[in-house]
């Protein structure tokens, strides 16, 4: 048995074909125990941790985080006997030779249930390394063309010791760490290329030489798009998969454009924003407030002994202001449900958070019942969990009213779009020192702008204005508001 074993991505949930690498929990060189979690993978059904199948040293990680990997493709390799000295120099050739365990490499996908070659038995549910092109077992008898169109030269003798392999072994992509995901640059040797007849005709019509193209279709076959792209004079180099949209420097292709697949959080955000913007008639109002008293109150709060190790930010007071104002105008915390309006007594307060994976809006369940201290702790935990990318889907659903703290990006305010199902969202802008008329004189005061978007089907201008004014009143003089309202 080879010392170095490759782990192919298994079908984690009954018939899945691919999974996205979410997070590597180990690095190359790490020693892992049997069943130690190695990587988090998200499929269409679940995000799961994959435990190490062998104890040993991680020698290779084949795909970076954010990459979508086909089931059956190797994702990491383990040296199962790291104490036995250095491995041979990992040249590309030796890697290719080492990484396909010979026994596993001999498994033919078409041979389900047949005699297991080389002692390898896991054909039905285990996965050998991906062989690239599915091969059909050759049938006995004359001239049956093989799947890739290469005719079998002569009928093989019935008792052939070695089955005739019509399809040559496909070229495996070199197993170097984070390899760009190509559509599978498999081209049969001898200048043969995979393309359907209509595509061949199209290529002929457009004067494109198929042999110069890299196919992006199944099994590396050339598609109509590939031909059109080539005909328009655009190179078809395999595009590098971006590690994460927005956070890395764009990798531009020769056409000076980058194409980022729309998936995951970005896709969800887009769907939600479109759904909301085109169903709920939005109105946005603004209010600029002198929050100097709030900022001073926060300073005093931080100095109290029981609050010393608590993260206290102006957002905490905004949250409190919103919760109190909701108590005074409950209609703001409601949902348009077609035939009826659902007004909620509980406030699941959403806090929009910018994370590496994109915008997510986890919410604090029943925030109105929390004490100030509980609210502060909940907000800190919520943001930290979100930044770490560990927010559970349940924490993101059921929000009833949201605050988006655009001020942290240094802007004054915005016209936020309602999360679907909510009827109000408050944008909290940057707090700046500004000249402000205070007690009849122009003074330097700390000032911020609030922007409230609301669903005009439920909330009229009067209600929205009163709500926004109350939030502003609280921030202008929190002590008096607390005394007056609670």
């Amino acid at each position: 048995m080879s010392r170095v074993r490759e782990f192919p991505l298994p079908d984690l949930g009954e018939g899945l074909t691919e999974g996205e690498i979410l997070k590597w929990l180990v690095q190359i060189g790490d020693i892992v125990e049997l069943n130690q979690p190695v990587v988090e993978v998200e499929t269409a059904k679940a995000a799961v941790e994959i435990p190490a199948k062998w104890a040993g040293k991680i020698t290779a990680i084949f795909h970076g985080e954010g990459t979508v990997v086909d089931v059956g493709s190797p994702i990491f390799a383990v040296d199962t006997d790291p104490g036995a000295g250095d491995l041979p120099e990992p040249s590309a050739a030796s890697l290719a030779a080492v990484e396909i365990a010979p026994a596993e490499g001999a498994v033919e996908p078409g041979l389900i249930g047949g005699p297991a070659p080389g002692g390898r038995t896991a054909v039905l549910v285990g996965y050998g390394p991906k062989t690239g092109a599915a091969k059909r077992r050759p049938r006995k008898g004359a001239g049956v063309p093989a799947s890739n169109g290469v005719p079998v030269a002569a009928p093989a003798p019935v008792a052939a010791p070695e089955p005739v392999r019509a399809a040559p072994e496909p070229v495996r992509p070199a197993a170097v760490a984070p390899a760009p995901r190509s559509g599978g640059s498999v081209s049969a040797p001898g200048g043969l290329v995979l393309a359907k007849p209509p595509v061949r005709k199209l290529a002929k019509d457009l004067g494109v030489d198929l042999r110069t193209l890299t196919g992006s279709g199944p099994l590396g076959s050339i598609t109509r798009d590939d031909v059109h792209l080539a005909a328009s004079g655009v190179a078809t180099a395999a595009e590098p998969a971006p590690a994460g949209p927005g956070t890395v420097a764009p990798a531009f292709g020769p056409d000076r454009e980058q194409r980022i697949p729309v998936k995951g959080v970005r896709k969800l955000t887009a769907q939600n924003m479109v759904a909301s913007a085109f169903t709920a008639p939005h109105v946005t109002e603004f209010l600029t407030v002198d929050v100097t008293r709030s900022m001073k109150a926060l300073d005093r709060l931080r100095k109290r002994r029981e609050w010393q190790d608590v993260r206290v930010s102006p957002l905490l007071l905004v949250a409190k202001a919103v919760l109190l104002a909701v108590g005074r105008y409950p209609m703001v915390n409601s949902t348009w449900a077609g035939e009826e309006i659902v007004v909620k007594e509980y406030v699941n307060l959403g806090i929009a958070a910018a994370t590496e994976r994109g915008l997510i809006v986890p919410n604090i369940k029943d925030a109105g019942r929390l004490t100030m201290r509980e609210l502060a702790d909940a907000m800190t935990a919520l943001v930290q969990t979100a930044k770490a990318g560990r927010t559970a889907p349940a924490d993101m659903s059921g929000g009833t009213l949201t605050i988006t703290n655009v001020g942290v990006f240094g802007v004054d305010t915005g016209t936020p779009i309602l999360p679907p199902g909510e009827s109000a969202i408050l944008a909290f802008g940057a707090v700046r020192e500004m000249p402000w008329v205070h007690k009849g004189k122009v003074k330097v005061r700390q000032v911020t702008t609030l922007g409230l978007s609301f669903d005009h089907r439920i909330i009229d201008g009067e209600l929205g204005s009163k709500f926004l004014r109350d939030v502003g009143d609280f921030l202008a003089d929190p002590e008096a508001a607390l005394l007056g309202w609670t």
Binding site: L12, P51, G114, A122
Partner: protein, 394 residues
């Protein structure tokens, strides 16, 4: 007399800690049989509302044996989950969190009693003395379950939700017709199902037939709070055990995370059945700590705080606390059990990896006991087809 904490007797029944389930009601004092608290304190006896008194009387050795069962069953289950994640099993239905419900009821069975499982009863299977490798062949897709149901008195796993309750009812009616009830050594039948299955027509039909024919059967419902993703409050308006009254037989709710109470309640219900007293519904109130199966993502429908609240009621931790407090087990014993579990899990793994793939034609072997012309023809056709390939040995 069991080695109980005398203080526990004086205190009497204690309410279980409140569950954190939003909207869900936790059972409180008076509607849950519990003999071992989550803190590991013994309650000497519990009297149910119908006057039945539940208690257990175990030797130290038996207490240690139950602990060993629980730890082994959990470890083997965890290994199977890991094997699925590594591509060696097609799917796995983990029993994590339900060990006590399964070991307690499984150990309460007498050799002559017949059990009808769902696909999650790996713990009961273990208690019936069946090699734990057996269900893994099924979930690996190399066989259809390899044990002899008659030899071990444990039916094949049933994937169809609730269907086995009807099979069990028919079997139990047969036991009556054979005249094997009415004595101390009578036979009884137990049918396992979940809270989700309780809404199935099959299960309700089974209740009716069993009640009308006074079948010697125990309906053992592991209420793990979720029918895949549907929480209990969307499945029933009343506690599940109360449904039995409408069908005309007794129902009782037991703390399914308490192996002692589960044993006591199941044993009493089985004894009633074997004496000819008819069916009982047991609702074992427990929690599925893991996913429904490896294909499911529970974080999409339940909140972390709920899982944490149930972690505090762990079925194994409370037995360990009890054994330690009472001096029934020391660290050496606990370490020895851990090591045994680890070794058995490793052996299980090695044996799974060595499981041979089945010959394609074995598919036809067990369709009819003595074959049939149609199946024979299909077998011949398939053999000819397989033989038409190059390199085929068929």
């Amino acid at each position: 007399m069991a080695k109980g904490d005398p203080a526990g007797t004086a205190r009497g029944r204690r309410a279980t800690p409140r569950s954190a389930r939003s909207g869900g009601k936790s059972p409180g004092t008076g509607d849950l049989v519990q003999l071992l608290t989550p803190e590991g304190d013994r309650i000497d006896k519990v009297t149910w509302s119908d006057g039945t008194e539940y208690r257990v009387d175990f030797t130290d050795e038996e207490y240690r044996g139950l602990y060993r069962d629980l730890v082994l069953v959990r470890k083997l289950d965890a290994e199977a989950t890991a094997l699925q994640r590594q591509g060696e099993l097609g799917i796995w239905a983990s029993l994590l969190g339900q060990e006590a419900a399964q070991v307690g009821s499984g150990r309460a069975l007498r050799p002559q009693d017949m059990a009808f499982p769902t696909y999650r009863e790996h713990g009961v299977l273990y208690c019936r003395g069946i090699d734990p490798i057996m269900p893994l062949g099924l979930f690996r897709g190399v066989d259809l379950g390899g044990w002899d149901p008659n030899e071990f008195k444990f039916n094949m796993y049933t994937i169809v939700i609730g269907a086995q309750t009807l099979h069990a009812t028919g079997y139990a009616m047969g036991v009556n017709m054979d005249g094997k009830t009415g004595t101390d050594d009578g036979e009884a039948v137990i049918a396992y199902f979940g809270d989700g299955a309780s809404a199935q027509g099959d299960v309700n039909e089974a209740f009716i037939w069993s009640a009308v024919f006074n079948a010697p059967i125990v309906f053992f419902c592991q209420n793990n709070q979720y029918a895949i993703s549907e929480p209990l409050e969307r499945q029933t308006r009343i506690p599940l055990y109360q449904r039995a009254a409408g069908f005309g037989f007794p129902g009782v709710r037991v703390d399914g995370n308490d192996v002692l109470a589960t044993y006591a309640v199941t044993r009493a219900a089985l004894d009633n059945a074997r004496h000819g007293q008819g069916p009982t519904l047991i609702e074992a109130y427990t929690y599925r700590m893991g996913a429904h199966t490896t294909t499911d993502d529970p974080t999409r429908y339940r909140i972390a705080s709920e899982v944490e609240a149930w972690q505090a009621k762990d079925p194994i931790a409370r037995v360990r606390a009890f054994l330690t407090k009472q001096g029934i087990a020391d660290d050496t014993f606990l370490a020895e059990v851990e090591e045994q579990a680890k070794q058995e899990a490793l052996r299980l793994r090695e044996r799974v990896l060595e499981m041979p793939d089945p010959e394609p034609l074995t598919l036809f072997d067990h369709v009819f006991p003595n074959g049939s012309p149609e199946v024979d023809a299909q077998r011949e056709f398939t053999a000819r087809y397989l033989d038409s390939f190059e390199g085929s040995v068929h």
